[in-house]
Amino acid sequence: MTAPTETVSPPFAELPFREQAFRIREHILKMATAPQGAHVGGSLSCADVLLHLYTRVLDIDPQEPDRPDRDRFVLSKGHAAPALYAVLAETGHLPVEELATYTQPGSRLAGHPLRRVPGVEFPTGSLGHGLSLGTGVALAMRRQGRPARAFVLLGDGELQEGSVWEAAMSAAQYGLDNLVAVVDRNGLQITGGTEECVALEPLAERWRSFGWAAVEIDGHDEAALEETFAALPARTGKPTVVIARTVKGRGVALFEGKKKSHSVQLNPRLYQRAKKDLRSGRTA
């Protein structure tokens, strides 16, 4: 008789990208079992981008969170907080156990990120603020002669906020090639498709006409993420926007491409089904 082998999962940092992404999505689903639910669809859609940024792009160190030359990240689509918390936890900014407190009374982990959460540079939640913040940071880094960059993750529906374009114009005017906007282009907002609500296309052309270098990629493709973020800025002297084409609810068939995945509370039955969906697509 052979003894049952004990499975010890390797440290997060040593896992391949897809396994890491699976772990992040598991956390997101778990958070959606909280009584208040969670913004599941938009968290799952940007999970790969966030994971890639925090593990392979951003020059930040949880042990030295105030280092002046660090890169800054702004989650302008603050409702994707569950994805951010999961990534912050797995990259050493937060204890992983703390994720279980998500939206519980007394927790630091609110439905939208608070500034007292380690690793959160700016609290967000009201859409249309993040790109101005990133522009200010990038401008400061430039004027101070620091090598740091500012990354801002925006929702696509968020682009309907006029203040985004105020920021886009000024960032281009100042030639901030140390500023990178990423648009989580999942195509859905609360009432349905972005194009049916207030159309955003031709999106890349719009950004280009605002003076940005625009790159369109599959926001779930590890190789595309790797290639794009390793080659920043896309154009010297211009801010870069990465339009990450994604699927709302990505990884969980129950939610994929469904507007109802926007904000969901998972009861035990739904949670089991969602986890099963996630596992079945694990290698996809």
Partner: protein
Amino acid sequence: MSEVITETTAGTTAGASAGTPARVPAPGAATAEQSWAERYAVPARDAYRRTLLDLARVDPRIFCVDSDMGGLETLFGDALPEQYVNVGIAEANLLGVSAGLAHSGLLPYANTIASFAAARACEQLKVDVAGNNLPVRVVVTHAGVSAGHYGPTHHAVEDIAIVRTLPHLTVVVPCDAAEAEAAVRATVDLPGPLYVRLGRAATPLVNDAPYDFRLGEARLLREGEDVTLVATGPYPVVMALEAAELLARQGHSARVLNMHTIKPLDTAALGRAARETGGIVTVEDHVRVGGLGAAVCEAVAEDHHCPVRRIGVPDGYLDHVAGERELLEYAGVHPEAIAAAALGLARGR
């Protein structure tokens, strides 16, 4: 009492009267030889701008963030281009960019019109500036009805009510050019956010000598025992002093406080006024709801038994065409009304 003075700021000449002698020194050109009165015979805005440039020359943390106000691009931008940013006509972006600059260790002075900061970009002020407790200095002009004939789109008679509810935000209302300079110098190292409320054209010089501006401490302009007049803003302070004169002629002694800091409010001075004079009249170039008068009522009601009368702009859209002082008088803010309110309190005792 008010003088018509040519505006010195480039790009804004609409308020100037033809033929007015250009005796106002150019911003940044004030000299030690100038008398106190000469140095400050300028709009508070110009005194602030001159001061900002002085301070920025020796402090590279200080940034001037412009929103196409006119004048700053030459005065400040030409002198210190590396510390100047113009985001254009985009006030939400102005405050967001300023928050980003402050988060990175700089001291941005965000320049816009009162209504555009407090009303248009209120959410950026609330979330990105005040909520984050960042050292952004939001310096606004055209406050109250100082935009005069520009009309109600450019008036800001509700901004104090809005901004004093925002977290961490210090709110300062200088009463003249001298106090604008003193207040800006005194708050350079304030760790949190600041809202400085300025007018547009020149207003009478209230302060006749340098004084030690103390943030959060009301300035006693006139001692008195029968009633206290608490005023904020250029003409309200001037009118309170004029009302005190009217009252003196009728045998009543009125204390006059310049409440230059709305938040934090000097509740100690209000307590002394309540105890020692038994009645308070507030005066402001702001609606009677939510501004200085309301703040004083809140403070007094909690700790003192003292009647308060509020002189301010009544509810309604002020679509009358006039200059700053005339508009206030049209709205019922004038020395006679202040004196009458004070007499009412005195009689009631």
